[in-house]
Symmetry: C2
Subunit: 206 residues, 2 copies
DNA sequence: GTCTATAAGTAGATAGAC
DNA sequence: GTCTATCTACTTATAGAC
């Protein structure tokens, strides 16, 4: 062990800093110089290119990493659903909270997607619909069950799924882009209001 | 009348093309050359600078224009609300449809804001919260009235306003970023599902 | 108001020494 | 794996002729 540093440490730094910086300033807003600085290299000397073929290759690796992270978070999420309590309201609260956590974990990546929408179609093209359609389909089939079981009053399950999904995504984006919580509403208060709409509380009020 | 062209035609073209191109490719993704091309000027000759001091000055004028458009759309929207029908469900449907139309009218501008978030803080900084907080406050006070009048079952009016707002914004963004309607849900179906949640239809089903 | 020519800066990327 | 030096291309912006 003559080398004090682990293999690939700089590469790792470039990936981490790249995600954060691309999310913050966009792909064009971050120069290779900036990336070298962030990874502890002397800026402007081109050492970046010993780790990645190009700036775009770095982006590709970042994207693959985040997609993998998304997959793992989805798995965790589905396990959370199966560990049920019998109480449908409580289950929905847990489910929605998990979804907001997943969105929060992907914050930088979502910012990046918003900035670079339409660019890099080969890399990002299918990603937008994958990100939404998949969890929308899951939400839809769950709500269909709920309606069949009379947990939720009858209606258009797929449209309802779109409403729930849109609300959660919209709330996350509001928090992201408008600083803190819009109107001072925190996650718990938001989720409670949404669940109350879907499954009215038994007592009537509050 | 010796001049066949109206004064400011090129300037007008630059403003229009600028909004569309900045929304599509971002501020850095559009060169002055591109803007000159789009406005019918010979690209790369710098005629752009006879109309605007800098690329950033063009952006500033575009933003002021869109903010003014937003103000006018908000006025139209509020008039739509006051022309009421007595039927709260029908009123909500009209209201929500208007809000989606406003968002659609601002599509390019919203794309631009998403791309350039965090940059140009002097120009765009206050805009994000203005865009959301204002209509959120209005939605909140309307829902408070509805709850007082028993049109909507009791609950947290402000949190409910955040849910409604998030759902509409989230739905618009889904349509924008994921191509067509998510899950094949169109505006009418989405709005109906949202209104059904707030004010259950008298008949029970459908 | 448009075109010609050009300045000054910065970007991504490469070759080679250590 | 990092640093030195450098190439090429492109960007915003300006000065001046027409």
């Amino acid at each position: 062990m003559t080398k004090p540093r682990k293999h690939g440490t700089t590469r790792e730094s470039l990936l981490t800093a790249g995600l954060q910086l691309f999310g913050e300033k966009g792909f064009d807003g971050v120069s290779v110089k900036d990336l070298e600085s962030a990874a502890g290299l002397t800026p402007g000397r081109g050492s970046f290119y010993r780790h990645f073929e190009s700036k775009e290759a770095l982006l590709a690796d970042i994207v693959h990493r985040e997609v993998e992270k998304l997959r793992q978070l989805r798995e965790l999420q589905q396990r959370g659903i199966s560990g049920s309590l019998g109480d449908r309201r409580a289950e929905l609260i847990v489910d929605f909270r998990m979804r907001l956590i997943v969105l929060a974990q992907l914050k930088d990546f979502i910012l990046l997607l918003g900035r670079e929408y339409g660019r890099f179609p080969d890399l990002l093209g299918q990603l937008y619909s994958l990100l939404v359609e998949e969890s929308l389909a899951q939400e839809g089939s769950e709500l269909e069950r709920d309606i069949a079981n009379q947990h939720i009053r009858g209606g258009d399950a797929h449209a309802l799924a779109a409403v729930v999904q849109s609300a959660l995504v919209g709330f996350h984006l509001s928090k992201t882009y408008f600083g803190s919580q819009p109107y001072g509403i925190d996650d718990d208060r938001f989720i409670k209001a949404l669940v109350d709409l879907l499954v009215p509380p038994p007592g009537g009020k509050s």
